[in-house]
């Protein structure tokens, strides 16, 4: 029964409600079968058999409660496939180079597609879709140079990123109905996830380029240390939010400063230049 409700994008309280409702249903049917003369084990098996396949019911509930979610995931997967295969073919034709690393993209697009269509395996849908979307987003963020090859597809990438981000937030950021500080919680997640993804990837990209120009590998500590500090701060913010909501929202300044530290070498010289 738990596997059925794990197929939905519901909030935890809604999942608990759904679980209890369906468990009561099965127990009532079991009791009836036992009254008809079956043993407890037989009655339980019969009741579960009548309920049907977990993944199928879970998918039905998900579609009923979140219409269009599957269609949007399919749209994202389809456009991502077209984008990645388009890039592969374009570079292959124009430069006679096979970009094998694009296979990574094909794998992450397939993950999104698979979990959007899955009606066979009863898995924790929310977790897997969220992971697929995070990796899809990371892959797409690394594809910024694409319009060097194919100008008219330029606007497609930002649209795909927006759709990917929207689906990620809609899947992950669900809250209990009575949960306190809903707006603050949403703000903490949105600011942290967006800034860390964009900032972290951009900083990593810049530092890897610096390594390409001969900088030592230790330069990467400029990215990893602030990212580790950010992760600790993010965890602390979530844990303390219910007790000190205003303080935690204020601490987002610290989040911005920690992430900005990764770009310190690019921020300090221009600022110093202003005072000269």
């Amino acid at each position: 029964m738990k596997r059925i409700v794990a197929q939905t994008d519901c909030k935890r309280s809604e999942r608990d409600d759904l679980y209890e409702e369906m468990l009561t249903h099965v127990l009532m049917r079991r009791d009836e079968e036992m009254e008809a003369g079956k043993t407890e084990k037989e009655a339980e098996e019969e009741a579960m058999k009548m309920f049907g396949k977990e993944a199928h019911i879970g998918d039905g509930l998900q579609q009923a409660m979140f219409p269009y979610r599957r269609e949007l995931l399919l749209l994202l997967a389809l456009v991502s496939f077209l984008f990645t295969s388009g890039k592969y073919i374009t570079v292959l034709v124009q430069e006679q180079t096979a970009l094998w690393y694009l296979l990574v993209g094909m794998v992450v697009h397939s993950v999104v597609l698979f979990f959007a269509l899955n009606r066979t395996f009863a898995v924790n849908r929310k977790l897997w879709i969220a992971l697929g979307l995070v990796f899809n987003l990371i892959f797409l963020l690394t594809q910024g140079q694409f319009w060097t090859y194919y100008d008219f597809l330029g606007p497609v990438l930002p649209l795909m990123l927006l759709l990917n981000l929207y689906l990620l937030y809609r899947t992950v950021l669900t809250y209990e109905r009575q949960k306190d500080h809903k707006m603050s919680r949403r703000m903490i997640h949105i600011v942290n996830i967006t800034l860390s993804l964009v900032g972290g990837l951009a900083a990593l990209n810049i530092h890897l380029m610096a390594m390409g120009f001969g900088a030592p590998a230790t330069i990467l500590l400029n990215v990893f240390i602030p990212m580790a500090l950010w992760a600790v701060l993010y965890t602390v913010q979530i844990r303390l939010l219910s007790r000190f909501p205003k303080l935690v929202v204020g601490s987002l300044v610290l989040t911005v400063l920690i992430l900005a530290y990764m770009f310190w070498p690019f921020i300090v010289p221009p600022v110093m230049g202003l005072f000269e």
Binding site: M22, T24, I57, M65
Partner: protein, 109 residues
């Protein structure tokens, strides 16, 4: 009874049942089975997604029969929007029925 036809009219069937009095899921399947003389057995995989869809559309609302911690049932009750929707669906069904009747009559004459 044709399962596909029943599936196509699931909202109408459930709304008609709930219009009479508040019901919980298991009770709905039992009542349907009894009313159809054991000919139609609605699976839970059809029932619960339909109830959740109708709840999302605001046609029905639900409440628990007892506080948390006890063995309790979730009852579904009709809203004003649900009543309006039921009337609309009943009208559609009546027009379809009348059309079928007329079509059959046209062959007889």
């Amino acid at each position: 009874m044709d399962k596909e036809m029943m599936k196509g009219n699931i909202d109408l069937i459930l709304l008609s049942l709930i219009a009479e009095r508040d019901l919980y899921g298991y009770e709905m399947t039992k009542k349907l089975k009894r009313l159809s003389d054991e000919a139609y057995s609605m699976s839970e995989g059809t029932l619960y997604p339909a109830l959740k869809r109708m709840e999302r559309k605001g046609w029905v609302t639900s409440y628990w029969s007892a506080p948390e911690g006890e063995r309790r049932k979730k009852y579904y009750t009709m809203t004003n929007e649900g009543e309006t929707e039921l009337e609309r669906k009943q009208k559609d069904w009546a027009s379809l029925h009348s059309l079928l009747h007329k079509a059959r009559k046209s062959y007889d004459t």
